[in-house]
Each structure stands twice: as C-alpha cells, then as structure tokens.
C-alpha cells in the first residue's frame, strides 16, 4: 500500500512536468499562432500545478478559516 501511495505521489509531479514539457514543445515546434497560444496556456497552468502540488495536505481544507478545521 505504501509503495502504491509513493508511486501515485510521484505520478502527480511527473504529469505536471509532462504538461510543462508538452506546452513548451507546442510553443517551440508549432508554427500556427493559435496553437502556440493554447500551448502557452498549458505551460502556464502547469506552473500553477507545480506550486499547488507540493502544497497539498491530505485531509486539510481550502484556506478559509472555519472553526471545524485546523489544517489548511
């Protein structure tokens, strides 16, 4: 079970990096501007995921103060 959890937790980071690389590839390798824009937005949102992924806590809630929760 621990092994599965460890693999899944790496999976999140690997997919984030895959999105980043795919966005970069579209921006560099595709000539069409609309396609470049979509690639750029993929690249941009993968950067968000790189911030948000390591900040996730299991069992915690969104950062809105509430008396029922202690972990955010």
């Amino acid at each position: 079970m621990d092994l599965i959890n460890a693999a899944l937790s790496k999976y999140v980071y690997v997919v984030t990096i895959f999105l980043m690389v795919a966005g970069l590839f579209v921006v560099v390798a595709r000539a069409n501007m609309i396609k470049k824009l979509v690639g750029l937005s993929i690249f941009q949102s993968s950067v968000y995921l790189l911030y948000l992924g390591p900040a996730k806590i299991f069992g915690a809630t969104a950062p809105i103060l509430d008396s029922d929760y202690t972990a955010y």
């Binding site: 959890n5 460890a6 899944l8 937790s9 790496k10 999976y11 999140v12 980071y13 690997v14 997919v15 984030t16 990096i17 895959f18 999105l19 980043m20 690389v21 795919a22 966005g23 970069l24 590839f25 579209v26 560099v28 390798a29 595709r30 000539a31 069409n32 501007m33 609309i34 396609k35 824009l37 979509v38 690639g39 937005s41 993929i42 949102s45 968000y48 995921l49 948000l52 992924g53 390591p54 900040a55 996730k56 806590i57 299991f58 069992g59 915690a60 809630t61 969104a62 950062p63 809105i64 103060l65 509430d66 972990a71 955010y72």
Partner: protein
C-alpha cells in the same frame, strides 16, 4: 480517496494534452484547450486552491475560448498543414523534462503535512488572517491586504495589456468602414439560445456580485467577479446581437472602466497616506483597525472588478468589431 481523484484527473489532463499536441484542426484545438482549462480547475479544487480554480474556470474555460474562436474567425484559418518533425523542439523538450524530473526527485511526497512549503510564511498568514485582518478567506487577506502592493501591480498589468491589445486592434478599425448596427448576430436564429440567454443573464450578474462581495468569506474576489460579469455581456453579444450588448455596456464605458479601476486601487492607497498611514495601510481608514481592513479590502477589490470587467468587455468588442 483524494489520491485516487487526483490520479484520475491528472491522467485525463495528460490525455487531453496529448490530443492538443497532435490535433491539426484548430477549432478542435481551441475546444480541447477549453476542456483542459476545466480539468485544471477541477484539479485545483482537489488541491484546495479554490480561488485560483474559480479564476481558471472563468478565464480559461470561458473567456479565452471565446476570444480564441474570435481570433480564428479573424484569421480565417481552420487547419494547418503538416510539417516535418521538429528535432530541435523535441530535443529541447526532452532536455527540460529530464532536468525537471531529476529536480522533482527531491520534492516531498504528495499530500504530506510536514512539507517545507508549510513551514515558513504560511503559518504566519494562517495565524494573522483571523487576528490581524479579520477576514476568514486567507487568500483574500494575502492578496488584497498583506500583498496589496503586488495586486496593484497585477491590476496595472491587466490595464497595460488591455490598452496594448486595444491599440493593436484599433488601427485597422479606423481604416475600414464603421460597423453597421443592424447586422444579425451569428446565433440569433436559435430560439433555445435566445430564451436561455435571457433567463440566465440576471443570474450570471447576480453570481458575479455574490463572488465580489462574498470574497472575504469564500472563494472569489475582484478578478473572478470581473470576468464573470464580463462573460454575461459577452454572452449577450454572441446570442442577442452586439446592439443589445452595446446598450447595456457601451464600449466607451468599458474603455473608461479600464483606467478607472486602477485609479480606485491607487486612490485607496493615497487616501490611507492622507489619513496618516503608509500606502495601502488600511487600518487608518476606520476607527477600529479591523473595520479599516474590511473597508480597504472592499475598495481595492472594487477597483480590481472595474478594471478586469472593463478590459474583458473591451477586448470582446475589439475582436468582434474587427471581424466584420
């Protein structure tokens, strides 16, 4: 359970990204991009980042899809021809990807409460949002109060970007004939769309106001509410015609709103200085510090709302009018 949901959503993200990279039909690329944004918003909800999820859902899945489709109509392109495999791009992507995977090996396990990211400023903000600012939504407290200066910069970026796009698109609208007002909108023939739009419009605007004024207590704030309010005007313009949209939100008003919001934001800062505090030190706005913080956050968020909605509506008009 959370891990399983993340697993499924991240897998879907990867699949959609592969489809975007390989797809050659540009309409399909834009629609897939909209699906991608919606998936990202869902992932952000799972990762407990509800404010940014609301932004991504309204900006990424909503407005930017409309603007990209308008761009496709302007450039009159549907497909692009195949090209030789790009070796340089592939090598660059592989090199960057390898470096990033190598770096990710030392990242803490996903979902761990003792990760370094939770050890430094985060506890300070979680502690202070309730006691110093008196705002339950910590994101709003950080965005509008602790980091109000950064948000002023962000609002100015929206202002400058909106101005730049308007200037770029305006040049040719002077050369071409003025747009005629009696033209039928593209989708006016569809009865379901017209009636549905009329039914749903008041609720979109009401939701925008809720997101704006509930931003202290729940996810939301000026950025999200501005985009949602603009999407109501854009929906009206797409289904019932530009003339109806112009009557509710005249382009001149939308243009004026872009600098007005920045002025409200910066004016709040100047007002706190005149009252004897520092720039954007809200505590001096009222007799009690917490009330001052509430008032300051409300004013600043109103400024953001005005600039963002003005920019989005102006961009929509600029794109659609150039397409005639």
């Amino acid at each position: 359970m959370e891990l399983l949901i993340s697993f499924a959503l991240f897998t879907l993200l990867g699949v959609v990204t592969v489809a975007i990279v390989s797809q050659r039909n540009l309409v399909a690329v834009v629609i897939l991009g909209s699906i991608y944004s919606f998936l990202i918003a869902s992932v952000m909800v799972v990762l407990d980042a509800v404010d940014v999820a609301l932004t991504e859902a309204s900006v990424g899945a909503g407005i930017s899809t409309v603007l990209l489709l308008a761009g496709l109509k302007l450039t009159r392109t549907r497909d692009y021809r195949g090209q030789d495999p790009n070796v340089v791009g592939a090598l660059l992507a592989i090199a960057v990807g390898g470096a990033l995977v190598w770096g990710s090996l030392v990242l803490p396990p996903f979902g761990a409460p003792d990760a370094p990211i939770h050890q430094h400023v985060a506890p300070r903000y979680i502690e202070g949002a309730g006691t110093e600012i008196g705002v339950p939504n910590i994101v709003t407290a950080v965005l509008a109060d602790y980091r109000g200066f950064d948000t002023l910069g962000e609002t100015t970026v929206v202002f400058v970007a909106g101005m730049a796009v308007l200037l770029l698109l305006r040049r040719s609208s002077l050369q071409s004939a003025p747009p005629s007002d009696d033209e039928q909108p593209a989708m006016s023939g569809d009865l379901v769309l017209r009636v549905g739009t009329k039914l749903i419009l008041p609720f979109i605007l009401l939701f925008a106001l809720y997101v704006q004024f509930h931003g202290d207590y729940g996810p939301g704030g000026g950025f999200q509410a501005g985009v949602i309010a603009a999407s109501a005007v854009i929906l009206l313009g797409l289904t019932l015609g530009l003339r109806r949209a112009r009557r509710i939100a005249p382009p001149a008003l939308a243009h004026a709103m872009i600098p007005l919001g920045v002025l409200i934001f910066a004016g709040t800062g100047v007002a706190t200085m005149l009252l004897g505090g520092d720039f954007l030190e809200y505590a001096v706005l009222a007799h009690e510090a917490k009330e001052g913080h509430h008032l300051g956050i409300m004013l600043v968020e109103a400024g953001v709302l005005v600039t963002v909605s003005g920019t989005m509506i102006s961009l929509f008009y600029a794109f659609v009018e150039r397409g005639r």
